[in-house]
Symmetry: C3
Subunit: 305 residues, 3 copies
């Protein structure tokens, strides 16, 4: 199971079929608690063309926990993009300084371009509104860890489903398994029509609601996303929506004990801090799972897993 | 002596009594010249919400000299605070990426808040105008190293005593020991009244002077601070004060050989570069002592000391 | 051969005679492929007062490949220069945190100043328009590796020869060996007169051309540089020059197989991407050679080579 990953890139979850996803998650489980210096002497090029706390720091943590080192930049201002260098050239230069590259870039398709520029393995750390596959992998890992499986689950996505890169990728991956989907969103923030058509072609159906109260009581997963002010031309409309989509201990009281609440973070007001101590809460675990998932990927792609 | 420190936070010198301060300093002495990889595989989360050279780099040096690794950010722009994340949430997320956290933040009380958010040890790297306890510890360490003791010393504080967080903390800690204090400051930049009242309640007395020439010749410690332009509404008044508070080889000639000159750095004009080669000069040693002090703290709090 | 380098600074190629340059390059060859943890426990202070991708990342890569660690800052904004600290003081403080320092600073002479401030070895990572000796060393290393020697070569410098710090240093070093030089540049961007006089005093002659087509067919090295828009008051003139100095597969077709094309990068339009697969192309190798050259220097100056 190790061979097929060594030397590969990790650009989009779409490159992985159900068997490979299950494989990856099984490998992640084996990495839980591992701190062997598997990547001693290896160097990760960490190229962040826009700032990120969670993704960047968890990649660095993963690399360092396995005995490796990192180098790179944390925003475009300290990169040579400022001097007009193309992404292609930056990658061609940096490949000489490291063994594997993670790239976060605002332009869609940039990670795939980077992968074409170099023979080193490239991991997509988020390319604009396109893909963020390590986020999807840690979401899947967290769901499987909490629910014990990735199939036959009742899963709700709540909030902004139109612009959420995270949500689109995760839905796609969860569609590899038989699950029931519920979509809860304010008017105008539903899944994009091209995305819905795509699901229909695969025979995937979902039920739409406008309120969290309409969701079934035996829901397994409630995946909440941020509703961003910028999406609303009218500030009064934003305030109304924001308040009605806030999750509180009260609003989740009607669900069964098996409920797991997820959120990619950072949150603003949609997630009441009083929920932090709720037994169903898993959003901080979810963030922390980023380390084991990224450890696994780094080790597998470097052929050290 | 190790047990009581492991797993603790280091937020304010006020949390430590005389015995504990002596303990800490004794431990620091044992760490002089130690470069054992005591912290191999451990990761320091270095969260600097505002820039700092001395504090950040000496923490990183301390961690790396002991075989550990660091990750984090160097200013708020590359943190997720930009996306509106609360400090609480940032800490809750980052605790999953590291074993111990140092935080520098412009808001008073932020370090204590961070310590409450996580079970990892938290070290205060400076929280606004409030506390900067590792600076105080390295000041104490330097005084003890130069003078051979922390008690029965004649100690003068010179410069801006009103706004100096560094000076307030250090005076408080030196008051744990029997010492004689002298305060030399321009009108309007003396110790704040609440601070003076606090000292009086403890029965601590100090002698005030307006000029360095009035200080006793057998002074042990002269601790100088920066006088900042921003404190003066009138630029002419600032120039006058700045010139009269500049320390030069001439102005320290009348003191005995045992004089030690300290300064938290960075300096501007208050400290004549010609003093750098004066035998009493210890401000660069003082900065360098930051490494051994922070090594000791990291090792003790991580239970590896 | 090790002794003379340990503890020294590396500020300018002018400090090294022909024998020492040959020595350094021989040592670099020995470091090819070496990843022994020679610098285990050592710390590099990486002080970049202005951003740089290539120089900074290849120094970090070199240090980490040899088992060492790095700390520092990536631009002036996160240094204490912002607080008005002098370069002298910054170096005096940072020397206590590390074993060796690399400095990039916009002011000419800053690296020499830094070297005077500390007993630690200091490497010049570029001081304004003055020197960038590690770039020169990697250029020499690349030429020797491709051509098999550093003497009796036909070498052309093409582009902006007036402002190019890189070009000036490299010409100076190549003049230590008997070579034939060709200069190809747009009007007003030739070598500065003081530089030409300097060459004449040494008895060095060069042939000037305005077009690449005039160069001899058996050219060994074509070293191209960026022509920067800022140098031209007239944008139309800039466009004209830019187009006529673009190197393409067509424009190099007339040269023999032994041609090597170099460029310090980043490039803009003067180097057609279609040249990347040309057998004479060596500019990415050139960038990558920065790691072995900097590994060698770090190890030698730290007495670990």
């Amino acid at each position: 199971m190790i061979q097929p990953f060594a030397g590969r890139d990790f650009i989009s979850m779409r490159d992985f079929d159900r068997g490979q996803v299950e494989d990856l998650l099984a490998r992640c489980r084996q990495f839980e608690g591992t701190s062997k210096p598997l990547l001693n002497g290896r160097v990760l090029g960490s190229l962040f063309f826009e700032p990120s706390t969670r993704t960047r720091l968890s990649f660095e943590s993963a690399m360092k926990r396995l005995g490796g080192q990192t180098l790179g930049f944390t925003d475009a201002a300290t990169s040579s993009t400022e001097k007009g260098e193309s992404l292609w050239d930056t990658i061609r230069v940096v490949e000489g300084y490291c063994d594997i590259i993670v790239i976060r870039h605002p332009a869609e398709g940039s990670a795939r371009l980077a992968a074409e520029a170099t023979t080193r393995p490239v991991i997509n750390g988020g390319d604009g509104s396109n893909q963020h596959p390590t986020q999807t992998l840690l979401d899947l890992y967290t769901i499987e860890k909490r629910a014990g499986r990735l199939h036959d689950l009742k899963i709700a996505f709540v909030g902004d489903l139109k612009y959420g890169r995270t949500v689109h990728s995760l839905i796609k991956s969860l569609c590899l398994f038989p699950n029931e989907f519920y979509m809860v969103y304010p008017p105008s923030l539903g899944l994009p029509s091209y995305f819905l058509e795509d699901l229909q072609e695969q025979g995937i159906q979902s039920t739409d609601f406008e309120n969290v109260e309409d969701l079934p009581e035996d829901l397994d997963i409630l995946y909440l996303t941020r509703i961003q002010r910028e999406r609303f031309p009218d500030p009064i409309e934003y305030e109304r929506v924001r308040n009605s989509y806030q999750l509180t201990p009260d609003s989740v009281k009607r669900f069964s004990d098996k409920l797991t609440i997820l959120h990619p973070l950072p949150r603003t007001t949609e997630l009441d801090p009083d929920l932090d101590s709720h037994p169903g809460t898993a959003y901080f675990d979810q963030a922390h799972n980023g380390v084991v998932v990224r450890k696994t990927l780094l080790a597998l792609l470097l052929g050290a897993g």
